[in-house]
Amino acid sequence: MTTIAGSLMRSLGAVAQSMVQATPMALRGVSQGLAARAMPSSATWTPQVTSVRHRYHADKLKRGPLMKNYGYEDKLHTKGLMPHMVHGKRLPIPIYRPKNSWSEKRALFGQNDYIDILGDGSLKPTDVAYSVPHWLRGFKGNEYQMLLRKRKFFHNKMGQYQPTKLTELNKRIHKLYVHLNQKTKDYYWHKA
């Protein structure tokens, strides 16, 4: 058995050697049938191997994307407005009314802001800021300062006609006084 195997091996080796001798240069892309025709073949049979392309990218694209989750129906809404059918009516959305950019208020916005420069200098912008409540013209402050100013302007009238409101105002001022002076600190980078 071994001798047969050994002889078989030797013969194969001989074939290999003969093959090597017969075709000293292995050419890529050339089928062995073509090479055999070019060079006369030996007595042993060699299978004809032809590499042929079966799959093309264009066909893959033509097939389209791979179908996955076959039979699964997505019952969720992924796009569009949420359905909300209450008695068959749609949700109330206010009618869009674009603002009039050229109404008188908007067309002449900023008029007289440079009256102290372009006028004779007797009037300042805060003197003509009629859209601002008179007690807030030229004023900036936190809530506590604003309430103090309000009380200074209105305590007479409020005492006569709105006493409860004046009491509430005083209470709030007192509460803010306690909070700002006893409960919080003034840092140099942040004042109340």
Binding site: A107, Q111, N112, I117, L118, M146
Partner: protein
């Protein structure tokens, strides 16, 4: 050899004045469809041909928007919300969290702790110099972009709105036009014509401002308005106490 009888005058024309800016010139027109240009006017370079500073223009626009703003947004704090005086359930015994009032900020419908409070103002004043430079920058930009038209006067032939609309269309004066005159009493015809047209507005010189100049495409100045503008702006730019006026913080009386 030099002739000794003729004095030796070596005259060299030095270019000393490197910073002199040439005065600008503009056509003077009329609000008359038949005539095109009446004459020419020279404009002072320190007012009308300044290099426009976009950051200063922006500062001015932001200031104009903010300094008159009053925010009336208001939320109620815990003691101001109606109700909430009683303890909702006993401190201990019920398995629930401990609460003392139904209007605490933790509760729905309760008070807001640090919300907006009543009248909040954003008042501040820009330095005088910044506002002057805002005006000059905007006027220069308008002039450079051909959006500044000089007109002899605001006298018009007809008081029809169609007349002035057609005039502006023929001369390609932008969709919105701002007419500026020296006085606040404008001629009859133009007042009636522009009364119904919302995007054509009349203004006196003292009402001129950066925001309006940017909002309206075309700025039409009368000759009187141009001279008044120049006089006022140059006065402020050259007044001896400008640094003091600029540095003095704005103080509102009472």
């Amino acid at each position: 050899m030099l002739d000794s009888s003729v004095p030796l005058i070596l005259d060299e024309k030095f270019v000393n004045a490197r910073n002199v800016v040439a005065a600008r010139e503009a056509w003077v027109e009329t609000l008359d469809t038949n005539t095109s240009d009446v004459g020419m006017i020279t404009l002072h370079p320190d007012v009308f041909s300044v290099c426009p500073r976009m950051d200063i223009i922006h500062e001015n626009v932001v200031w104009q928007r903010k300094y008159k703003m009053v925010s009336k947004a208001h939320t109620k704090t815990k003691p101001e919300v109606r109700g909430g005086g009683r303890k909702p359930w006993p401190q201990k015994g019920t398995g629930r969290a401990r609460h003392s009032s139904i209007r605490s900020p933790l509760w729905v419908g309760g008070g807001v702790t640090h919300g907006p409070r009543a009248f909040t103002t954003q008042f501040y004043m820009l330095p005088l110099v910044t506002r002057i430079h805002g005006l000059t920058s905007t006027l220069s930009a308008k002039f450079a972009q051909d959006d500044l038209k000089i007109v002899e006067s605001l006298q018009m032939a007809s008081d029809e709105p169609g007349y002035i609309e057609k005039l502006c269309e023929n001369r390609e004066w932008g969709p919105s036009v701002l007419f500026v005159d020296d006085t606040d009493l404008m001629p009859r015809n133009i007042t009636i014509a522009t009364d119904t047209i919302q995007h054509m507005n009349l203004m006196p010189v003292y009402g001129l401002n950066v925001y309006s100049m940017l909002k309206h495409s075309t700025l039409v100045l009368t000759v009187g308005a141009v001279r008044r503008l120049e006089e006022r702006i140059l006065y402020h730019l050259n007044r001896p106490d400008l640094t003091k006026a600029n540095a003095t913080p704005f103080k509102k009386q009472n």
